[in-house]
């Protein structure tokens, strides 16, 4: 028995790697369709945008890179789709240096191909990337053109119909930051107190715990925490807008709902190994005491 426990405690990590690989890949290939329950922070975010009026403006800030794209991409896409359905205008910017601009461009290209009626410069605009995130936010609080004199194609903001009447973030009805790292927090601590613009955040799961403090203090209108938050949002979208089934009802494309299958199996595997390790640890310690 003791030999077995010691072997278990010294389990070759390649076995764990194999289980992890299977637990992630199998549910992607064979979706399980597990249910998703919604949390209050996601419901609040969804209801805030649902309550906005047609013609209101949402600033969507891509503050993440490819490393967290599977978590963050579905959030950005869901909110952009909601903007398209609700006829909200959206301004896209990117503040994260490592690949956020490319992700923003890809998301804009994807959503505008799904909704060909969206007109550039009228319904949406892409201002591109700017370095120095916190300084850019502060500048945008007073003067958006001071931070982004032109859009990504080089057109001066003064010539873009959507930007008329929006000189600063004070005229934007919502900032949605899809974030990894500190940039999301800066929107809350720098822009919200100065410009008063409501903020909704879509952080990675690992940084989500921090934002509960801002939710409790009322500095955040809502939060989509990690892939779970994105999957919850997809569920709320499907419930409120049945036409969303064409995106979220299919198991062909990657969605957060589909990703949650993998995450569930992965959590089960990790918990199983933690349990196994602890049982072996307790039994071997008891054996050693005797």
């Amino acid at each position: 028995m003791r030999g077995f426990l010691e072997r278990l405690l010294r389990l070759d990590r390649r076995w764990i790697f194999l289980f992890v690989l299977l637990s992630v890949t199998v549910p992607i290939i064979v979706p399980l369709g597990l249910p998703v329950t919604t949390t209050e922070s996601t419901r609040k975010a969804f209801q805030f945008i649902e309550a906005m009026k047609p013609g209101d403006t949402v600033l969507i800030s891509f503050d993440y890179g490819p490393s967290s794209a599977p978590e963050n991409d579905p959030m950005a896409e869901a909110v952009m789709r909601q903007c398209a359905i609700k006829k909200l205008r959206f301004i896209v910017i990117a503040l994260y240096p490592l690949g956020a601009l490319n992700l923003a461009n890809n998301a804009v290209a994807k959503i505008t191909s799904e909704y060909p009626g969206l007109k550039y410069g009228v319904d949406y605009v892409n201002l591109g990337y700017k370095d120095g995130a916190s300084a850019v936010m502060r500048r945008m609080g007073d003067d958006i053109a001071g931070a982004f004199p032109t859009d990504q194609a080089g057109t001066p903001l003064a010539q873009i119909p959507l930007m008329k009447g929006i000189p600063s973030l004070r005229q934007v009805q919502l900032v949605f930051t899809v974030a990894t790292g500190i940039i999301g927090e800066w929107w809350i601590t720098q822009v919200h107190p100065q410009a008063g613009t409501p903020i909704i955040i879509g952080p990675t799961a690992v940084s989500a715990p921090k934002y509960y403090a801002f939710l409790n203090s009322g500095q955040l209108e809502g939060m989509l925490g990690g892939m779970k938050g994105a999957a919850e949002y997809e569920k709320l979208m499907r419930a409120a807008h049945p036409e969303m089934d064409r995106f979220y009802g299919s198991t062909r494309d990657f969605t957060a709902t589909k990703g949650m299958d993998g995450q569930t199996v992965m959590h089960t595997v990790v918990l199983f190994f933690i349990l196994l390790g602890n049982i072996a640890f307790v039994l071997s310690r008891r054996g050693a005491t005797r």
Partner: protein, 266 residues
């Protein structure tokens, strides 16, 4: 022509003073720190004054504080350039001296020059770094889509393997604190995903119980995240903010000088 006090003051502090400081500092090491400290004081105090002084030359659209914000964006660009220079210096040195891993430095430098080259080409040719007018990808976007993004995703995905392995080896109930952490983490891990429903998949008679159990665990998880976690996070954030504020005051008053990188006697 109108006299713009704010602009003149900024030019004086951020252009004339540094130049004077450099000239005077050449012969007097003791004076070298004076200029940067003065700049630090003005740069630190202006955004605070702008909140309390509703005067155009301080907080107006073209005032000193918004102008500083605009300069900060330009400075951030230069910081990026500084990073590139640093990467070049370190890696060229590594290759020249054939230090261990020098081959990886060549790969890094090649990536830097090719990607940077495509970026500069996009700027010069005015095609940008996104899509071409015909909808095809620019060379820079091609590099990002097919090299940078998959590599970044791969590196991050490796974390899952190491986290699982580390959880098995390190997440042990060695003492009371570790046990509390283990239980809280286990509950949150179970409550965030429908584990009970997943485990009940082969047993249809358990589906209803699994669903209600999962919802109860979800509510417990939300409470853990909302109340104990939220309270602890608030404490951490407030503590960090107070620390940052006290450090800012030390810099503004010229007490904290570590950022100047001065030698002895300066």
């Amino acid at each position: 022509m109108t006299f713009d006090f704010g602009q003149v003051a900024l030019v004086l502090v951020f252009a004339i003073v540094p130049i004077l400081g450099i000239i005077l500092g050449l012969n007097s090491p003791g004076l070298r720190s004076r200029g940067p400290i003065l700049i630090g004081i003005v740069a630190g105090i202006l955004p605070i004054l702008a909140i309390y002084i509703p005067k155009n030359f301080v907080s107006g659209n073209g005032g000193m504080s918004p102008r500083l914000d605009a300069w900060l964006i330009i400075l951030a660009g230069f910081a990026l350039l500084l990073g590139v220079v640093n990467v070049l210096q370190n890696n060229f040195r590594k290759v020249a001296r054939r230090e261990s891993g020098w081959f990886f430095s060549i790969v890094l430098l090649t990536g830097l020059f090719v990607t940077g080259g495509f970026g500069i080409y996009g700027a010069v040719s005015r095609t940008g770094i996104g899509f071409n007018p015909d909808g095809s990808s620019t060379p820079f976007k091609y590099m990002t889509d097919w090299f940078f993004q998959p590599l970044q995703s791969t590196i991050f995905a490796l974390l899952a393997f190491f986290m699982a392995s580390a959880a098995f080896r390190a997440f042990r109930a060695r003492n009371v604190e570790a046990t509390i952490l283990l239980i809280a983490a286990g509950l949150v891990m179970i409550g965030r995903v429908p584990i009970l429903e997943f485990l009940a998949v082969p047993f249809p008679f358990l589906h209803a119980a699994a669903a209600s159990g999962s919802q109860a665990l979800g509510r417990l998880t939300e409470w853990i995240m909302d109340v104990p976690n939220g309270a602890a996070q608030s404490g951490i954030i407030i503590g960090a903010a107070l620390g940052a504020a006290s450090m800012a005051i030390r810099v503004i008053l010229g007490i904290e000088r570590g950022y100047l990188g001065l030698g002895k006697g300066e």
